[in-house]
């Protein structure tokens, strides 16, 4: 599996979980579906960007920092649209980016033709 697809899948899965955790905040529960869809799209976008970065730059530190930055930035846009919950949205968003950044540096293929075990 190449790094972009790897980032996309992992970002999407973590995005779904990220959205689902809003169930624990009673005041946003009615918008749960919208939140899950939004955070999944956010996770996918973050995953693809981080995956592309991992294909070009082979550095665990830079990959993790880039992932953290992308996650925080995308989460900031979401929070900014609501005008509140900056901390509650950005912190998990940054965490998703950080994990995807780490995973795409460690696993997945840089090229499209090389077979992989992972």
């Amino acid at each position: 599996m190449n790094k972009v697809v790897y980032g996309l899948i992992l970002g999407g899965i973590l995005g779904i979980f990220d959205g689902l955790t809003s169930w624990f905040t009673p005041e946003v529960r009615p918008q749960l579906l919208m939140i899950v869809v939004g955070s999944t799209i956010k996770g996918i976008i973050a995953g693809v960007l981080i995956g592309f970065f991992a294909r070009k730059v082979h550095s665990l530190t830079l990959g993790v920092l880039f992932g953290l930055g992308v996650g925080l930035l995308l989460a900031f846009f979401i929070a900014h649209m609501q005008g509140k919950y900056y901390f509650e949205v950005m912190l998990p968003g940054g965490l998703v980016g950080l994990i995807v950044g780490y995973a795409t540096q460690k696993y997945g293929n840089s090229g499209l033709s090389t077979p992989s075990r992972s």
Partner: protein, 330 residues
């Protein structure tokens, strides 16, 4: 008059025991080893300036049967052009009458000299897959090896895997006839002849192979009815060897693959070396293997093992996310 020392006499005896390469393009460098059908020497090809391995029949052979068998091995190797089979460069008869053939000199180690700690299960299975590919190629050319064992597999310094010693191989079909023509013997004094029909077939009841690696039908001497499934048994025994020499307990699906390949009833074995190699590939890819039926728990365990990295990452996220939730709700 001075007497020769014991050391000088033993040196002379050793030298006289060596085959005479005079008049050929080969210069003897070293004795590499010996097998059931001859001695292998390292030599230098003086024309091409490269090292070659020379397999020389230097046993007494009044009937000429062994010589015919050695030449037959050269013929078989010549018709099997494959990266997993050592290429033959030349064949002929030396001036002292010894029959020989020259092949690529392979530097590496035999499969039975594996490093228990260093060679991981993954490395071993990749090697085994390459052996299966090579044997499948030979089977497709109508040839069965009949003596597959770890001692007959070389792993080169660059990871190349070569199946050696085709001396007791059996030709099932009569494909490429052109290879049975006489082969020029380089600078050797005479050319070689096609192996006779008598020499190319092992008599029914004659047992050739290695105990522990040969199939039950081969051990019973049922030569006429031997087919590719006999080699499948031997491949299973090689896999069994690779698994039992591991530092840890082998995974159950792999033991099941070896058991299926080594079934006493040949109908129950893998249909081909390709199928056997594919099952190994499935195991390596985290997919189900045909020899190992799975219940729901085994399926879950295999799935979890295949996606363990992703599972760990998602679980890490969930744990940290839960901690954050608890912290926000404080």
């Amino acid at each position: 008059m001075s007497w020769l020392s014991d050391e000088a006499i033993s040196r002379l005896q050793a030298a006289s025991a060596l085959p005479d390469f005079g008049g050929t393009r080969y210069r003897l460098v070293d004795r590499v080893g010996s097998g059931g059908m001859g001695v292998v020497y390292l030599a230098e090809d003086s024309i091409l300036g490269r090292r070659v391995a020379l397999k020389v029949l230097d046993f007494p052979d009044a009937s000429g049967e062994l010589a015919a068998r050695l030449l037959r091995e050269a013929h078989i190797l010549a018709r099997l052009e494959h990266p997993g089979i050592v290429p033959v460069h030349d064949a002929g008869t030396l001036s002292d009458g010894c029959v020989f053939y020259a092949m690529k000199f392979v530097e590496g180690r035999r499969l039975d000299h594996l490093d228990v700690q260093k060679d991981t299960l993954f490395d071993r299975l990749r090697i085994f897959q390459r052996i299966c590919d090579t044997v499948a190629f030979a089977h497709a050319r109508g040839i069965i090896h009949r003596d597959l064992k770890p001692g007959n597999v070389m792993v080169g310094s660059f990871g190349e895997v070569l199946v050696m010693d085709w001396g007791v191989a059996k030709i099932l079909s009569s494909a490429p006839k052109s290879h049975n023509q006489a082969v020029p013997a380089g600078n050797a004094s005479t050319s070689i002849h096609s192996p006779t029909a008598a020499a190319s077939e092992t008599a029914h009841g004659e047992v050739l192979g290695t105990v522990g690696y040969m199939s039950p039908e081969q051990a019973r001497g049922e030569i006429a009815s031997l087919d590719t499934r006999s080699d499948i048994f031997s491949l299973g025994a090689v896999l069994q060897y690779l698994l039992t020499t591991l530092a840890s307990t082998p995974p159950q699906p792999l033991s099941a693959i070896a058991r299926k390949a080594m079934q006493a009833d040949r109908e129950s074995r893998y249909a081909s070396a390709i199928c056997l190699g594919q099952d190994i590939g499935s195991y390596l890819d985290g997919l189900p293997v045909s020899a190992y039926p799975e219940n729901i728990f085994r399926k879950i365990a295999r799935w979890a093992s295949r996606y363990r990295v992703a599972i760990v990452l998602v679980l890490t996220y969930l744990i940290v996310r839960s901690l954050l939730l608890l912290w926000f709700r404080r």
